[in-house]
Point group: none
Chain length 213, copies 4
Amino acid sequence: MPTNKKPQVTAPKKSTAPAPQRRRELLDTAAEVFAEQGYNATTVRKIADHAGMLAGSLYYHFDSKESMLEEILRSFLDELWDGYDAVLDAGLGPRETLEALVTESFREIDRHRAAVAIYQKESKQLAPQERFAFLAESQRKFQKAWLSTLERGVAARVFRADLDVRLTYRFVRDTVWVAASWYRPGGQHSPEEIARQYLSMVLDGIAVREEPL
Amino acid sequence: MPTNKKPQVTAPKKSTAPAPQRRRELLDTAAEVFAEQGYNATTVRKIADHAGMLAGSLYYHFDSKESMLEEILRSFLDELWDGYDAVLDAGLGPRETLEALVTESFREIDRHRAAVAIYQKESKQLAPQERFAFLAESQRKFQKAWLSTLERGVAARVFRADLDVRLTYRFVRDTVWVAASWYRPGGQHSPEEIARQYLSMVLDGIAVREEPL
Amino acid sequence: MPTNKKPQVTAPKKSTAPAPQRRRELLDTAAEVFAEQGYNATTVRKIADHAGMLAGSLYYHFDSKESMLEEILRSFLDELWDGYDAVLDAGLGPRETLEALVTESFREIDRHRAAVAIYQKESKQLAPQERFAFLAESQRKFQKAWLSTLERGVAARVFRADLDVRLTYRFVRDTVWVAASWYRPGGQHSPEEIARQYLSMVLDGIAVREEPL
Amino acid sequence: MPTNKKPQVTAPKKSTAPAPQRRRELLDTAAEVFAEQGYNATTVRKIADHAGMLAGSLYYHFDSKESMLEEILRSFLDELWDGYDAVLDAGLGPRETLEALVTESFREIDRHRAAVAIYQKESKQLAPQERFAFLAESQRKFQKAWLSTLERGVAARVFRADLDVRLTYRFVRDTVWVAASWYRPGGQHSPEEIARQYLSMVLDGIAVREEPL
DNA sequence: CATGAATGAGCATTCATTCAT
DNA sequence: GATGAATGAATGCTCATTCAT
């Protein structure tokens, strides 16, 4: 599963480059700029500069700046839900489900850092728009998945019952996803390592336990 | 720390309302709109609409849109550091310091919700600019305060030693401040109550502890 | 029924020029350019040039280029129907009605030459658009007025019965309105004089009559 | 009168379909779109869509959008003048000449509806351009032909002498050509039938004549 | 002949800002 | 203090045109 620019696995005999690939490249470029400068502050010219072309040329590939944003977010969420659904359908216990969701989340942050950052910063403004209804939809599914996992855990006495479960939900959700704002792929910790430490903090806290005995 | 165009010291002859108050009102209005729509997406006209005046009229009170932003952030950070410094100078132990900082943070979120939200969303873009150097400055102080508190705690064996302390720092920092994105003053939980629950989660985790005995 | 932005209930004492007047001036300028170059070929810059301002400044007065077009056409049609309705409600016989309608039409061409020319050239493309539904509406009323006048005339034996009445309608309609393409106010013929000659041609033909006797 | 890029005299070696035919097809397509949407509002892409090809491909056949327009108008006017010249050289009396010109005109409208509509809408803007000088040229010849016919008729006492002859010219000219805006080939009236009725109206008027006796 | 991709000039529109009143 | 009107730079987008393949 290639993450960055030119996978170019098998060079086609005479054709130069298949269209969908170019499209992906451009979207990745755009996502990077959106993530760094913010969607509104990103001009189409800046994206084109990064892609080595003129602003108008982008419109051969995309309908509008907004449609680029939509495609970036949509394809990120599609992949995210592939991962999440696999976890949710695996029949795990609540604690294992939570561990798997967190780990999966850090993997997505690793793969789609830019898209996640965009999502974090812009989704609140975008969700009300018709065109971005899929964001609101995803948010609902997301909340349901996490909330029900937490509730199952409380019922099974593996998660604390003395906490407001909605507060806990926000705590876990934000804690994980905000990591996209500082995470850089190829840094000193792998996503799995970060997930492990985060899970340890979220589950057991950062305070030293009094020795049982 | 120069701010610009401070309301003239000499009171205007016939005016009834003192200028600084109007200024505050306008800044609060602006902060609200910035927080809701994002700084870039907020037009001066929108702010003026909310304030019941025309766009041009704002320029009697402020030099520019950016100077409004600056003043909002600067006065928020001034207050924040008043609170933080009091805590840091109180000579508390690491755990108590952390508890006090978190509680103080939620109080600031309660008082300056809009400014905090703006800070969260925009500070990364703003910090590199000369004009907003005070943001970077604040971030450094902030990191130092938290990091040293955590390190003191690890040394004193009240915080776990098996965690990457920088990761822990980010974890705690994000966990607290992101709350500004959903917090609404006057909701069902007071800032102190939220602080208590967050501290409980951060310190002891959300998992049920096996009974020591 | 106020049409534009600022209600301005009570005129301020010292204001230099009432807004609606400037608006009218700009619309007249725009109409002139639209008429001469065609709506599509007219850039907002050209209009602004003619008005002695920059392109962006027009947007203080109008929402869009299209809204200028709309206002031009709408105010022309409003005036046209004031005149037409007066004629149609006067209870005249069919020949006198036709004479009055033709005369009124030439007067409108004299007063709104530019708007008429625009109407002629653009209405077919515009009418289907929601925003310009009033054009289609006007066309229906227009056809009904003329057609029924012609039919009354045929029934009363003052207009020939051997002609296809719809063809006659188009003949008269086009004949009159196309005059806007060459008419210049202040030329050697007054609108009334042109109307008289046109009516003479339309009613009696251009061929010499054999003397009855 | 230079036309450009005439289909190569030497037939291409292996091509099966003769080039000029494809060229004609494409011009007819273009004319249809120009007529319906207006020249300026017609994009090259729309023409290409109608022709089942991509926009760039049209440039194999034509130098530019403008050259398509030129060729459409030029070939229409060439045919028109074939017909008109035949009539004018036939040595007919003024009334018969006028009848023949009108009839010929409706035949041209029938054959070149699109080109006539384009001509009507665009010629005023185009004529001043160097490239479209042939339009102005044609207009001069046109005016001369009609005006002299009318003047001959007045002198011969078959047309009324009490009318401004230039006004009469415009009346007849417009009356005939505007028909292109509503005429659809294959409708309920043949061009000859429309010509007959129009001539009847133009010559004898639409009013009922008092019986001579 | 036709396609896919790009160019570059131009367009309508937005918006922070200015300033005379 | 506030308004009305304007500026000017920038923005997203369109479109005729080019050209290697």
